[in-house]
């Protein structure tokens, strides 16, 4: 019997020819990462373990992106602990202000995560790198401490779910809409403990950035990882970025899946996840008249260059509605510079949007765009739980960048074609 891409990557990283779902294995990691929320606890656990040196200073990445630039003294102290640890250990991938971006956009951009890799991160959205054909998954700080100390972690080999997408996407429909639609169909624990393997003609047609968006939200269906196969687009994306050789794995034709789901997405409209679960999904035409106070475009889900392009296309020559605060936060400084070079920054600022430094801030109600009681946000982020963006009586509606930008113009949740006329 054949193996899935996930099983093959796990087998390779524990030095075996095969592994089967349900087995508990110890695997070697290619990269371990933590951020300014999770690193302080990981460093504490690392010391408590009696560890002195990280297993490899080239394979531990620390990214101060959540409450940074430091929102208060406590955050500054956490960042300081992380910075001191990075210096003490001689870590090659600690990113200081000005170079730091949102971890799951930054590390792929830096070429630090590659096909066939096994990546663990003390952040649940570590599953993003599956877009490149890597196995990557989120864990807690103590697990991350073990990874830093030993270069390995324990894992249960997950069952895989095969998700196949057919049909040609309509205008304004993107990876975010595919994954919201999928989570709506499966529920927030529909893929609990499992691997989500994405394929099909609609996936082949999707950009690598769109695939990152989909893999990013695999955890919102409860999955351990989301994974895509490597194709010409992946290789082109890695060109000039990859800093080392990589290994491409493929699912066998006779691999075994716990479940197979088919999606015909040819007629799919832009999707909206209503409060307070990412699975509470409706097509944009069915959400009704929903006035909006804040629009957030960016994050590890939709902070990619093409997301910024979508926002700029829609906001070009238009104005953000006077009742709306529109906050754009690109994934990395490089993306932000590219926005300036292409004239999009001017478009966004002229429209009355705020363009922030890359940070996770507003997504988790940390800083740089927290909402008040009774306020409503349309956001391209990944979670709309109670209190996620601030006050527990606030509401978050998750969408792709096109719906978010169109809603910023009209002041209510809007299909982009209403603003763009097509």
């Amino acid at each position: 019997m054949g193996m899935t891409i996930t099983e093959k990557i796990l087998a390779f990283h524990c030095g075996r020819d095969e592994v089967r779902p349900g087995e508990l294995i110890n695997v070697g990691v290619d990269l371990a990462l933590a951020n300014d929320i999770t690193a302080p606890l990981a460093i504490e656990a690392f010391r408590a373990m009696g560890a002195e040196r990280v297993f490899d200073p080239a394979r531990v990445a620390l990214v101060p992106d959540h409450f940074a630039p430091a929102r208060d003294i406590a955050a500054a102290e956490n960042c300081a602990r992380m910075r001191a640890f990075a210096r003490e250990q001689g870590l090659q991938h600690y990113f200081e202000m000005g170079r730091v971006g949102i971890e799951h956009v930054l590390l792929p951009e830096e070429g630090l995560v590659l096909p066939g890799d096994l990546v663990v991160g003390a952040d649940s959205h570590t599953c993003t790198y599956g877009a490149l054909g890597a196995f990557s998954t989120g864990m807690g700080s103590t697990d991350l401490a073990m990874a830093m100390a030993l270069g390995e972690v324990w894992l249960r080999v997950p069952e895989s779910v095969l998700l196949e997408y057919h049909g040609e996407l309509k205008p304004w429909v993107c990876g975010k809409d595919l994954i919201l639609h999928t989570i709506g169909a499966m529920g927030v624990d529909g893929a609990r403990y499992r691997a989500m393997e994405f394929r099909g003609p609609a996936i082949d047609a999707l950009s690598v950035q769109g695939r990152f968006t989909m893999a990013n939200m695999a955890v919102e269906a409860g999955a351990k990882n989301g994974i895509f196969h490597v194709d010409a687009k992946t290789r082109a994306w890695l060109e000039g970025r990859a800093r080392r050789d990589y290994r491409v794995f493929e699912s066998d034709p006779d691999a075994s899946y716990a479940e197979r789901l088919l999606f015909d997405v040819g007629g799919l409209e832009p999707q909206v996840a209503l409060p307070h679960l990412p699975s509470n999904v409706k097509p944009v035409s069915e959400v009704g008249e929903i006035p909006v106070d804040q629009v957030v475009i960016g994050s590890c889900t939709n902070g990619w260059l093409e997301d910024m392009e979508t926002a700029a296309r829609i906001l070009e020559g238009r104005q953000v509605h006077p009742h709306v605060r529109c906050i754009v936060f690109p994934g990395t400084p490089r993306i932000k510079r590219e926005m300036i070079r292409r004239g999009w920054m001017d478009i966004l600022l002229s429209a009355g949007a705020v363009v922030s430094t890359p940070t996770c801030g507003p997504c988790l109600g940390g800083h740089m765009g927290v909402i008040a009681a009774g306020e409503r946000a349309v956001s391209t982020t990944n979670r709309n739980f109670v209190g996620r963006m601030g006050h527990k009586e606030g509401e978050v509606y998750l969408t792709g960048p096109a719906v978010a930008a169109a809603s910023a113009v009209t002041g209510r949740i809007t299909h982009p074609r209403e603003v763009m006329g097509r």
Partner: protein
Amino acid sequence: MRGSLLEGKAWRYGRDVDTDVIIPARYLTATDERELGSHCLEDLDAAFASKVEKGDIIVAEENFGSGSSREHAPLAIKGCGVSCVVASSFARIFYRNAINVGLPILECPEAVQGTKTGDRLRVDLGSGTIENLSTGKTYQAQPFPDFMREIIALGGLVDYVRRRLGA
């Protein structure tokens, strides 16, 4: 965890209790268990942290601990005095984190269905038996795989790695 008996009052919640309501991100600059515990479940049940008593037990439906990887979530639950969590199922990162930091968790949908807030529960972590003293019913939780039992027996992942490092 071996053989230890826990007894406490049940706090019963629904499904998909996520880590953002267990400990909202605004408190994540703290790492101290007690401080985190003073905000435990604040956005789901504002009265919880002030009323919970040492030894009490959280009982919840499917997918407990979904969302973020913040280990602050099991730490907050421990920090407010909760002795264990019984759920119909756990989100995977929370499950790992709870084992790693030594918060006892048990998966048992039947016990969840048979429990309401205020019931007194007695939990035997060694055997996985959950007794509802208020109704007189007894339930059996799913056993842990051997490897996890080993981590639990050592008191968490820190000591497991300590031993591996020979420290």
